[in-house]
Symmetry: D3
Subunit: 290 residues, 6 copies
């Protein structure tokens, strides 16, 4: 089990608690009252399509909250690729409890595996030429879970939140300059990453001169980026400047990804990694035990 792929437990537990409250209030699972309480079953989580798994921790906590006596065994962990119909995990125990937990567990698993699968498809296209980065375009309350799913897919996490590092966007430059903004950031938040958004080549130069750690090159075309990378490399070498990381961003889609990946930028970010990932279709195949 790779623990770098786990979201913090408290975030998982809180969402599981919210999920069960919203699904079971006030009477519990009415349909489950039709079943013999002593009936047991075996149930397998099985994807209907190939993908990359994320969210197993949510499944574990969901079953633990519904019925701690259910045994849950994972054949596949977060970050692993699965084929369609390959068993991810097997649950054994109360038939009624498994049916009660089913939808909540699947809602987590299919959403987060969908993000992991989507991220992995970007990473596949990037093919090592560029690091694929997520954004803060995550669903409120799911930041840590969705970002863990991005890691499960092999992509990387951008800034975690507004408090994580400084991003100097155009709105932050009102009445100041890039140079001054970077200097103030270094002074006030020493040791912390300073990231500058640039829309034009002269702003990129200014950010290099200011010593930014990363420059977000916003809405440049692939051709412009190829030029820009060469320019920045040359200029930094010539002037003895540290070469900052260069990030491409702005309207990059899966379709244009390949073009951007070959431009020489270090990083490439897209909100669609998290906010446009289709769910991975996963089912729970339940078989009552005799």
């Amino acid at each position: 089990m790779r623990h770098d792929l786990d979201p913090p437990r408290h975030d998982v537990r809180r969402l599981v608690e919210m999920a069960l409250a919203e699904d079971l209030t006030p009477f519990g699972d009415l349909s489950a009252t039709l079943l013999d309480p002593a009936q047991t079953c075996t149930a397998e989580f099985v994807p209907r399509a190939p993908g990359v798994i994320a969210g197993t921790r949510c499944v574990i906590e969901t079953f633990a909250a519904v019925d701690p006596s259910i045994e849950l065994e994972f054949a596949v962990g977060d970050g692993e690729r699965v084929e369609a119909r390959q068993v991810i995990a097997t649950a054994r125990g109360s038939f009624a409890s498994v049916l009660t937990a089913e939808r909540t567990a699947l809602n987590f698993l299919s959403h987060l595996s969908g993000i992991a699968t989507n991220a992995a498809s970007w990473v596949d296209v990037a093919a090592g030429r560029v690091t694929v980065w997520d954004t803060r375009k995550t669903l409120p309350g799911y930041r840590s879970l969705q970002k863990a799913a991005v890691r499960a897919g092999g992509a990387s996490n951008h800034r975690g939140n507004l408090s994580d590092w400084i991003m100097v966007k155009d709105n932050h430059l009102l009445g100041t300059t890039i140079a001054e903004a970077v200097a103030a950031s270094r002074r006030n938040w020493p040791g912390r990453t300073v990231h500058v958004e640039a829309d034009r080549r002269d702003q990129v130069d200014e950010a290099c001169d200011a010593g930014a750690d990363i420059i977000l090159c916003d809405n440049f075309s692939p051709a412009e980026l190829t030029d820009l990378v060469a320019h920045v490399d040359a200029r930094c070498a010539a002037e003895g400047l540290r070469r900052p990381l260069l990030e491409a961003s702005g309207g990059i889609t899966f379709d244009t990804l390949d073009a951007y990946a070959g431009t020489g930028v270090d990083l490439l970010s897209s909100g669609s990694l998290t906010n446009a990932a289709p769910v991975l279709d996963i089912g729970l195949d339940v078989v009552p035990t005799a």
Copy 2:
């Protein structure tokens, strides 16, 4: 303002609180510290594509939590259609506060408006021939918000949760019959909807005989459904049975929707209403005030 489109306030408030905690812990918005605290702005929420709006209540609570002094005026309410570039709402107040709240507000609004827009596109195709229903395939913690967005799009809400009404699925029939399961449901939960899943015509007949309120016809083709509706109509008339509502479900996609909508079933449900809705691209255009 139509209050049937509002999710419960406590659900909205809790998610807003989680969102701001995850985006601002532990230091707040570092980049905002670059700004003059006295600087004000006007900011407009503007969609980049046409759609249907949902989630305005989340935007209101987000701004109220970040900075209650910001004035927020909505030109469009939940459930209304907007054109690309039509102003949805205008915020006026502290520049720093607006930038701090921006991403959280947009994450809610674009996700929920995406669901509303998606639902509306289904309703448009249905064109009054069938009621479009959502499912329990919602993101854990977002049940009430996503279902409100479905209503904003003009579609309808299926069962709210496991406690809402009884669904007799095949798993619930182990050691019993549809007739017995419906009778037990009526006895234990009088007055409550009893919904039966049927995979075959004989099960549909059995559910009619048992007096089910709704029959979910699972994985029938459009042609089979057209036949089935005629059969049920005739049989109920002949035998003096109340004609239950008939729901088509199982693998219906936007592409096959039109075919299903014309089969004569009353209702049609798909998880993709909520779990496959792309976000509506909405931006916040911020202009500092002099």
Copy 3:
């Protein structure tokens, strides 16, 4: 153990946590500090009067929260009748911990068993002639626990909350008619129970014509109800209308219950099931172990 009698775990856990916080803040159980920490005991939950048990899940969670090492064994489950002095459950473990948990556990158990016992006494009088229904007159925060206790007593649960199904009361008819209100409900909330309150026979007729699922006949006398049932039966048969469920409500007390039970109505509801149930007197008999 019948799991249809369990309230949702999260509701139980939250109330147990609130109970222990309010009983132990800030210093814990001062009197328990007089005891030898190594002293153990056996303690039996024993009712002082006959009744029906509910709330065992609360007892379990209370002891688990105070001291998970206490062993707790139930001889009787929720929904079972007990004689005075019949042992319900036995706790074994730390003397100090048992005394600390005692009052909280008893406060839950005696309150909820009181409701179950009260409900059972109504069900006994009803004697199968009518279904006894609770109401929304429950203590805030205890909706699911009190309704589970009602089920433990053999009675049934009415609407769970305002979101569960539609009740068209006189206040909801301002500017509309029963027919229109029922039609709007069917349109907006398809598949969901529609319940209409009627004060007069013509309203009952109107509700039948509108296709209401249930009609609450408010403040009719037993004699009037007997007539009304015959009228509705005849009228629905004559006009080929589905016969709705008929509910008697309004000022029904345990004393008048018998008269109402024989009127032919299907259901009978009273707030006093939950808000006027005396506690079942239950004690904890603690014996230190040598």
Copy 4:
């Protein structure tokens, strides 16, 4: 407004939040969607029987949480006696919001006013001869609210919780004596009330000698108590001991109250003050405004 009758705000707010969550999840008030959102009303809280009011703070918080625009005016505060049909409070504002808040507000008000009314009836019988005390037999999560309602009825609050002061009951005397237990309490918790339970006269003497602040005289008859009071008075005077407060407890009911009240004890406690109080029947009379 007497602020000694207010329960702590955080307790009230938390229960109101729980109440609205349980009554409105997940779709809100379905029936309210039948109403014109612009329709307003005037609504009066009116008791159907005479009583003493408690819980107004809960009503205030409920309306504030449902719809802050509703104006709420109280004619009567906590602790005041009302006649049947006397207006307690008037709400003005959105018709839909008032109907949504109605049941939650009434559930609080009728429960807590029931306790206040019950307490007042005990105080009336006591007629200044004895102080009427509550117990820890309160509903979990409602300790502070129910104890505030007891004060509203003119009775007094016993120990707030297990941490409040030391009660030496028979279970706490295993392997020790009253004298030692009181001494240990004084040593460990200086300045804090020490309360001793006594079943027999010799234990009462022992507790007096030990310097207990209060002696709970458990299960003494009124005649025995009259004797006991005289005995303690004489003995303390003779031996120069401080006369402790004497509390009668154990099976005292409203019917036997008068006999106990005249025995000369200082205090008299009964769990039935809180756990056997019938609700005060209060209704909300709603009139739409033209």
Copy 5:
């Protein structure tokens, strides 16, 4: 294990949850991802200076929340004195988990042991001549934990909170007298400690006459207190008054403690017990296991 030194579990758990959330949001422990997940270790909690231990319950809950598989064994319990370099506890298990939990566990343990150590140093100087009392000058949210640490150090707890007993300070005497305030307290809150603050000898006399349980003698010098004690003893004996407990307070520091301790007062309180206690320097010595 002395359970009188444990703070309530719910307080500990809530702070542990807050601590881990603030230390691990949103990505978890980044540095721990550098480690082999299978690597185990042994880790010892070792003080760098002598002291008294408090907070072991927080350490237990922290490790349980981070990784329940870690084995934790305590050689020393709350309230015990340790030498520098004496092992307090040993943890065995996942290397990564131990490093993740380390700082949170140490932050609790060093803070609370610092308070216990500080309190013990006061108790040592008091040498049985006077009881050392804390105050309400505790860190918000830490009341029960800091007061438990004071007990671990051998000192005693003053009033737990504003609701615990009545303190009549000068601000409470506006428009009333000590005699009236004490009488009102006795009437409204029978059985509860009444504590009066006095700045002058005549106020002390007045409080004695009023029957106060404790008199806080504010800002008297040691010499004045010695006189005052003699005066009160004589006066109470002469007039047959119960001698109240006398508390010295106001600007007492560790340096002046010895002088105050010998004045004959019963109790002596200082905010510096809790709000000026230096942390006890404790480290975690971690050794990877082969």
Copy 6:
């Protein structure tokens, strides 16, 4: 008002809620019931010693939670220096409410201003020669508040938590090298600060070669640091390496601060900034208004 000094609102609100719950449960402020509810007052927050203010946001939230009708006016904001007896803020309103809120407000303000004052004294000694950094040695639950107080004192915030950036300590080097650990960090967490702890000069060299952003030089003496800085400067210049930030840490106290500040390191960190700061003595001077 400088908003970079505000801790996140949700953290403040949660601690205020916890503080009031622990101080007012279950009966509220008993002593306040002695006061005339209509009595008003003016109250001034006045330090008894000079210092730097932090925590005003906590005072605002405390008063708002106790009684929103109290008017609170600040003459001094977070981060400002005050003289002894200089008025910080003035509250006007209900006498009873002010007394109830007093201790909670002061507990926050004196603790956080104590940290700000302590930090400022370090910054004064540093005199611009070195940046003073805090650590993660903060009280659990107070991370964001204590770190904001450090900023108010003019010092800077180190890593916010374990998730903020990577610190490679000796424990993280088991089975790997500094070079490999830095490379893995860059690969897995691109753009994020990588901080390496070094105990010896060769480790410092290795960290420079590996491209660490910051090197924590642990337990070097001032003389060693002076040498080290010269060495690193020379070596980086010679080899064309980026010169990392150099941090001194390990046992630095206020007494040795001056020596370390002149060594040429960029940063200097000490846990005592937060965990050994004495409270700033602040009182509330309350004057009833006629």
